[in-house]
């Protein structure tokens, strides 16, 4: 990373002046605590004693034999407390906020996973919590709204714009401008203005740190491919980070293509977007010819975002990682396949990565190794997938 939070041309701090003080305060605090052994010790205790880390690196034997190619390992972030990788970032940021003397956490959420994780951390640390969620999403994910309330958070339905994730981010940023003194904005992905993409990446990097150790222990060598799904890209950057310097390890991000990258109903930002500035960062965004942010679509609410984290945009530019589109249909098939084959129900987000592994593995030799990160568990998606398949189930 260059100075001022740049990843190549991407990243930066494109924010209203009203947020500048808060961002600078966060930058200074993080610079201090990231090198503080006491902070790191407290964080790893939370990871190991509360969040169930390290997560398993599981050899998917049946899947490997069925596909008949490369050996497939699954990094089981779905086994974390709260059921997804989101908890890694949230525990880190909540601890940081606490050290900064903040008493209140605010967050945006799409499907509700990051909101639930933030509400969980707030409950654990005795902090107030307010979650902003698009009104559309509060209806689609009513159960997660209840979960957040159960954990003591209040949920604010956002009624602006398309009433989905991007509007929830905008609203949380607005709220932060008006109440900076006691409030930390716990951003959920590797996006937004610097230092968020770096902070979130550092807390998620535990995923690749563990994969590397576990892989060396099990196979005595590094994997040939590491892949993960990409919305904003936090589980993917977490899975890639400690392999970026290992040039022989191929890194693949799987984007949500929705109904296909040749349609308007897609959220595949790297494949269909252009360079732009939004939500405090320069990166690739789905937009029209005049730079208006385009409405995006994916079956997965967690990947339904018109941008991508700036470090991913940079890894794409320099060719270090590749980003492939995966459609709704392919993801749903993968969701069902992994459930049936390994007895693991993956989140519909993670199913995008599983789907690409199902295409790639048969084309590789049997002595090659693929690691796929299962970013979350799929219980939350069962009703929606049943409806996708024409079964009339409601939560």
């Amino acid at each position: 990373m260059d100075s001022k939070g740049r990843f190549g041309v991407h990243g930066g701090q494109y924010i209203p002046e009203t947020l500048m003080n808060a961002i600078h305060e966060l930058e200074r605090a993080y610079e201090h605590y990231k090198n503080d052994p006491e902070f790191q010790k407290e964080l790893s205790t939370l990871f190991n004693e509360y969040a169930n880390r390290p997560s398993l690196l599981y050899y998917a034997k049946k899947m490997t034999e069925d596909l008949g190619g490369a050996k497939i390992y699954l990094k089981r972030e779905d086994l974390n407390h709260t059921g997804a990788h989101k908890v890694n970032n949230v525990l880190g940021q909540a601890l940081l906020a606490k050290k900064m003397g903040k008493t209140r956490l605010i967050a945006e959420t799409g499907a509700g996973q990051h909101g639930v994780a933030t509400a969980t951390a707030a409950a654990l640390m005795g902090m107030e919590c307010v979650v902003f969620m698009g009104e559309e999403d509060t209806k689609r994910q009513a159960l997660n709204v209840y979960r957040m309330k159960l954990l003591g958070a209040s949920v604010v339905p956002v009624k602006t714009g398309t009433r989905t994730l991007k509007d929830a981010v905008s609203e949380a940023m607005r709220e932060w401008t008006t109440r900076v003194e006691d409030t930390h904005y716990c951003l959920g992905s590797v996006m937004g203005p610097h230092p968020f993409p770096t902070i979130v990446r550092d807390f998620q990097a535990v995923i690749s740190k563990e994969i590397k150790e576990q892989m060396l222990e099990k196979e005595g060598r590094l994997p040939d491919v590491v892949m993960a799904c990409v919305g904003g890209g936090s589980n993917a950057i977490g899975s890639f980070y400690h392999f970026i310097e290992d040039k022989d390890v191929q890194l693949i991000g799987c984007e949500a293509a929705g109904r296909g990258i040749d349609t308007f109903e897609t959220a595949a930002t790297v494949n269909t977007g252009r360079l732009g500035i939004f939500h405090g960062m320069k990166s690739y965004f789905c937009q029209d010819e005049f730079g208006q942010i385009a409405p995006v679509y994916s079956i997965s609410a967690g990947l339904d975002y018109p941008g991508v984290g700036p470090e991913h945009a940079h890894l794409h530019d320099i060719g270090r990682a590749s980003y492939v589109p995966v459609t709704d249909d392919e993801a749903v098939e993968a969701f069902e396949y992994l459930s049936r084959t390994e007895g693991i129900i993956p989140a519909i987000e993670s199913s995008h990565a599983i789907a690409y592994a199902m295409k790639l593995a048969p084309t590789m030799d049997k002595d090659k190794i693929i690691v796929v990160t299962v970013s979350g568990r799929g219980d939350k998606d069962c009703a929606a997938i049943a409806r996708y398949r024409g079964e009339n189930i409601y939560e």
Partner: protein, 97 residues
């Protein structure tokens, strides 16, 4: 002295903000000229954006209405050229009087 510097010649300036194309460019055009006639020193024109992160609910609403009315960056600059022309004519007429 530039127009902007002269606008502050009294120390303070009256600066209305108008979102372009809310709900159409004709309304914006008329609103700007009325503001000039009623003593505006400077006028700030907003280019509508789909996701105005730093704006409150009133201007957010104006942005959404303007985009729904079909405003684009090209149309905003077309409108500005038309406003400058009308303003120059207005200023010339006033100077003569």
């Amino acid at each position: 002295m530039s127009n902007i510097a002269s606008a502050f010649s009294k120390g303070k300036a009256f600066i209305p903000f108008i979102t372009c194309g809310d709900p159409d460019t004709e309304t914006t055009y008329r609103a700007v000229l009325e503001a000039v006639k009623n003593g505006a020193d400077l006028i700030e024109l907003g280019i509508p954006f789909s996701d105005p992160t730093a704006e409150g609910p009133v201007i957010q609403g104006a942005n959404i209405r303007a985009l729904a009315g079909g405003i684009t960056t090209d149309k905003v600059f077309e409108l500005v050229r038309k406003i400058i022309k009308a303003y120059d004519e207005y200023a010339e007429k006033n100077n003569k009087e």
